[in-house]
């Protein structure tokens, strides 16, 4: 078991190491001079050279990588070229907001997706299944920026219930600020609900046809108990794993939703950094976001390990 934990954490470190190299390499190739872009096109060449020297841009690649990574490990990603502020400060605030959004979306979609999938799986081939299957097919197929447009049109333009933007206002009441988050959460969740419901439907339908559910039925156990006690624990493992490993896909959704609703999260910060060629910010933000993604997967993996008796006792 200790071996398992060490293995997972080792894998995580290896992954982060490789990714940091990739990020650094890409930043190296970018045909942008950070010093030049920081000072603007009209700055004197001498000033640019001075800044390059100050930033240590003329040192060998390996030295700069070692420097960058050792600082990054300590939480120092340097200064943002555009904002002229430490990257970790910028990223920290934004990451909190993005995580709030993602966590709320998770809290909303996991129970709903699992429930819909289970209902469909139990009633395989019947009307509830057909309705849910059709719905989830559509949810899976509509990309978040499109579903966002549809929801804004329905709820903001047509019904006028929510606003189309979600800039957090520190003075607003809790109710007001959570109301602003409803549409973004819905958009994020819809996409994953479809995916989750489809997965759960398949495993649930399979479990309902399994020999051990047959055993339970022929033992004379009531249907309710069969579903809750015999079927669900076996059916939910796979979809739960899948959704945890789907975190990467969801990060894409978070970026899109933040842009769509003007929500100042990490995703939008990174996109802006990319559009403005703010390389230090992009590198630092990417590394942090990837770390969050990888760590989530590892935590989920370890959690599942303890949930599943079959793996635990091997």
């Amino acid at each position: 078991m200790l071996l398992f934990l060490l293995n997972r954490i080792g894998t995580m470190l290896l992954t982060m190491f490789v990714i940091s190299m990739l990020v650094f390499t890409i930043a190296e190739v970018v045909p942008v001079d950070p010093a030049r872009s920081a000072l603007g096109p009209y700055a004197a060449q001498q000033a640019v050279d001075e800044l390059r020297d100050q930033l240590g841009l003329d040192r060998p690649v390996t030295v700069r990588y070692a420097d960058w990574i050792s600082n990054a490990v300590r939480g120092d990603f340097g200064q943002s070229i555009h904002y002229r502020r430490p990257v970790n400060e910028l990223v920290g605030v934004r990451l909190g907001r993005s995580l709030t959004l993602a966590a709320l979306a998770f809290a909303f979609m996991i129970p709903l997706g699992l429930a819909l999938g289970c209902i469909a799986g139990i009633n395989e081939g019947k009307l509830p299944d057909r309705i849910i299957s059709l719905m989830s097919s559509v949810f899976v197929s509509v990309p978040p920026f499109a579903s966002g447009i549809f929801l804004i049109l329905i709820f903001s333009v047509w019904l006028g219930w929510f606003t189309g933007v979600s800039i957090p206002d520190p003075d607003a009441s809790f109710f007001e600020s959570s109301k602003k988050l409803i549409l973004p959460i819905l958009v994020l969740a819809l996409d994953e609900i479809g995916y989750l419901a489809r997965m759960t439907r398949i495993t649930m339908a399979e479990v309902m046809k399994s020999d051990y559910v047959r055993t339970a039925v022929l033992k004379g156990i009531p249907r309710r108990r069969i579903i809750w006690r015999h079927a669900l624990p076996n059916a939910l493992m796979a979809p739960f794993t899948a959704i945890m490993l789907h975190v990467n896909w969801m990060i894409g959704g978070v970026v899109v939703v933040e842009v769509l609703f003007n929500y100042p999260g990490l995703g939008r910060l990174l996109l802006d950094a990319a559009l403005r060629n703010d390389i230090t910010l992009l590198m630092g933000g990417t590394l942090v976001l990837t770390f969050v993604a990888v760590a989530t997967q590892v935590v989920a993996d370890i959690g599942l390990y303890f949930m599943n008796p079959r793996v635990r006792f091997e």
């Binding site: 398992f4 293995n7 020999d211 051990y212 047959r214 022929l218 033992k219 156990i221 006792f313």
Partner: protein, 691 residues
């Protein structure tokens, strides 16, 4: 529960079950009537697809969505199960009628401990409290001879062996003391020795608790072991019914007689009979023939059988058969059944061995754990699948390798074939060193060594036609000129009794038996010197098995091919092999000519295996030797003699400490045991009716 012992527990009347399929309705069970009497075991026997399991689940009123009971009644204590609502059904299921299934691993919930799975039956049906239920379950586990029942209650099913899982299911079924126990192939898939233990348990339950059982099996031998009354099903119909004695010694329906003739016999040791396969195929359930269902395959069939459907009627000797000519059986048929010795085995030519295996060892790496495994950090475990095995095989002879699952017999075949590299030892094949994987062997010898595999569903490439599959080796090996290939394929197809019309078929259009025939034609196409057969018959029905077995012998005779035949079935081995090696946990414990194996002296393990084989002969008396415990892990095999942990004749510490010597009975017959030969000879024979 049972009001009077005069009334049957269950009464099935003219039952009909229909499946709705894409090809139209299929009647899986037709006009089946039967009674099950209290305290009796009714054995239901038939080949796959004959409707036995459908009948069993129909009795529970538990059918798949596309199946329905379209006619008939199932009376249980004067109540019709067919018409019960879900509440009444729930009361009956698990309480009045309980069931034990094939594949016990799948029948137990993988994420629940055994305890709650057992106790919930009592909580549900008897309203017991948790503590009461738990005590009752532990007592029941003791009754089914489960070792350490307290600990078992806390385990998950994957922590139990197959035999233990089945014991749990039997205990679960008996908890409420049901009026009827339905057992659907409860021993299929278990090793013979485990099967024998479970069958012993069932006999004991029958004796001590007077349990009424409907016992379903495809194996005539197993049915003979447990049943009082026997019912034979064919293509959804009941064709014969009677006492076990009647059915096995004096079958009146031609199907029953034919089925019995398909079983290779090992009764009375050395005696041998020809197996006679049943020609043709089971008729499609979609189109019921207007006449007798067996007419197309029956040797006795006359005009009347084609047009008129026979009813099940009492025969002169008092049992029941669905045949117009039940009382005038073919004397030749009966005689064939009563076994005239006929040696069909091909006898070896010359002394020069085709294959010499010397000190073969094959270890598998135990699964390593990711990163640590790659870094080589932790100790590597090895499964000693084959450990120091030496064997010889002469030209045109057949060597059988028998043993329980996991004993390493398949690994030997894979090593010889070159699919798995050996770790140590010499492999010499017609003078060529083949102790390496197939890719490194000289190209010229490849055609001399071919293999037939166990699973018919994976033996043929699903995207290739039958013709292409057989033509490929001909082309590759240049067995016949390019222009002759098609003719040769057709000739081979004819030889395996398939015919040219199969040339363009795809594997998914073939039955399991047909696939194995194609595999056989493919293996023999290049006229190899040696063919390795890895349990090619084990997934086939007995009648199909008999046909493929005969084909193997024909081919062997025609080409003078030597064979290594891996099997767990002593009957088949007896039929096909000139010599046999018995394996246990990666080692050979006995090897010798086939005849020598069935009478003492033999290795204690051979004796136990022989005693465990279910044989469809009620007159046969056998010594019952049972093995203790379960097979130890090959990752860490026992010291000394590997069999000592389960040996019924262990003589002392020497068995635990020293590797046993080889004791030579004759030059060919050798036993790997500490017990002196003299003592081995005096042991009580397994088959008491010596000829």
């Amino acid at each position: 529960m049972i009001n009077s012992p005069k009334a049957p527990v269950l009464n099935v009347e003219a039952l009909e079950v229909v499946y709705t399929t894409r090809a139209g309705p299929a009647k899986a069970v037709r006009d089946v009537s039967l009674e099950i009497w209290p305290g009796k075991v009714l054995g239901l026997v038939g080949e796959s697809g004959c409707g036995k399991s459908t009948l069993a689940f129909a009795i529970m009123n538990y059918l798949t969505d596309n199946a329905a009971i379209s006619a008939g009644r199932i009376l249980f204590c004067d109540q019709d199960i067919v018409r019960m609502n879900s509440r009444e059904l729930r009361h009956i299921r698990g309480n009045e009628i309980a069931m034990v299934y094939q594949d016990p691993m799948a029948a137990l919930n993988p994420s629940l401990r055994i305890g709650p799975q057992l106790t919930e039956v009592l909580v549900e049906h008897k309203g017991s409290s948790g503590v009461e239920a738990r005590d009752a379950c532990i007592r029941m586990l003791q009754r089914v001879h489960m070792p350490d029942p307290l600990a078992v209650m806390e385990r998950y099913c994957h922590q139990l062996s197959g035999g233990q899982q089945q014991r749990v299911l039997i205990a679960m079924a008996l908890l409420t003391n049901p009026a009827l126990l339905i057992m659907d192939e409860p021993t299929t898939g278990l090793d013979v020795t485990v099967e024998a233990e479970i069958l012993d348990l069932i006999s004991e339950l029958k004796r001590e608790f007077d349990t009424t059982i409907l016992f379903i099996s495809h194996s005539l031998g197993v049915i003979n072991r447990v049943a009082d009354q026997v019912v034979v099903m064919y293509a959804g119909e009941l064709v014969e019914q009677g006492s076990a004695q009647d059915i096995f010694l004096d079958p009146r329906h031609p199907y029953t007689a034919a089925l019995l003739r398909c079983v290779p016999k090992i009764s009375a040791g050395v005696q041998r009979t020809t197996v006679r396969p049943i020609r043709g195929k089971v008729p499609s359930l979609h189109a019921t023939p207007s006449g007798c269902v067996f007419e197309s395959r029956c040797d006795r069939a006359r005009d009347r059988c084609r047009t008129e459907h026979p009813e099940i009627e009492q025969t002169a000797d008092g049992h029941w058969a669905r045949c117009f000519y039940a009382d005038s059986p073919d004397p030749a048929e009966l005689e064939a059944l009563r076994a005239g010795p006929a040696d069909t085995r091909v006898s070896p030519i010359g002394d020069a061995p085709v294959l010499k295996i010397d000190g073969l060892r094959t270890y598998y790496k135990a699964k390593d754990q990711g990163l640590a495994g790659i870094a080589g950090r932790h100790k590597q475990g090895f499964v000693k699948a084959v450990d120091n095995v030496s064997l010889d095989l002469g030209r045109n002879s057949t060597l059988g390798i028998v043993g329980e699952s996991g004993c390493g017999k398949t690994t030997i075949a894979k090593c010889v074939a070159g699919l798995v590299p050996p770790n140590a030892g010499k492999l010499d094949f017609i003078g060529i060193d083949i102790a390496k994987v197939v890719e490194q062997r000289p190209v010229e010898m490849l055609k001399e060594l071919q293999m037939i595999f166990q699973n018919p569903d994976s033996t043929l490439n699903p995207k290739r036609t039958v013709g292409e599959a057989i033509a490929r080796p001909l082309q590759l090996f240049g067995t016949v000129p390019q222009s002759e290939i098609r003719n040769e394929v057709v000739r081979l197809l004819d030889a395996v009794r398939l015919g040219e019309e199969y040339y363009d078929r795809l594997p998914r259009q073939l039955s399991g038996g047909e696939k194995q025939r194609v595999a056989l034609a493919r293996a023999f196409a290049g006229r190899p010197t040696l063919v390795l057969c890895d349990e090619p018959l084990s997934s086939l029905d007995v009648s199909v098995q008999a046909a493929v077995m005969n084909l193997l012998q024909e081919f062997q005779q025609e080409y003078g091919t030597a064979m290594v035949f891996i099997s767990h079935d002593f009957g088949v081995v007896n039929q096909l092999c000139s010599s046999v090696a018995v394996m246990y946990l990666g080692k050979i414990c006995e090897t010798g000519p086939t005849e020598a194996l069935f009478k003492p002296p033999y290795h204690p393990y051979t004796g136990a295996l022989l005693a465990a084989i279910p044989i469809p002969d009620p007159t046969l008396e056998r010594n019952s030797i049972r093995l203790l415990g379960t097979v130890p892990s090959a990752l860490d095999p026992p010291s000394g003699c590997r069999f000592h942990t389960r040996c019924p004749r262990k003589i002392g510490p020497i068995c635990e400490q020293e590797t046993p010597p080889w004791r030579e009975v004759t030059q060919e017959h050798r036993i790997h045991c500490h017990i002196p030969l003299k003592e081995l000879r005096t042991v009580d024979p397994v088959f008491r009716t010596e000829q």
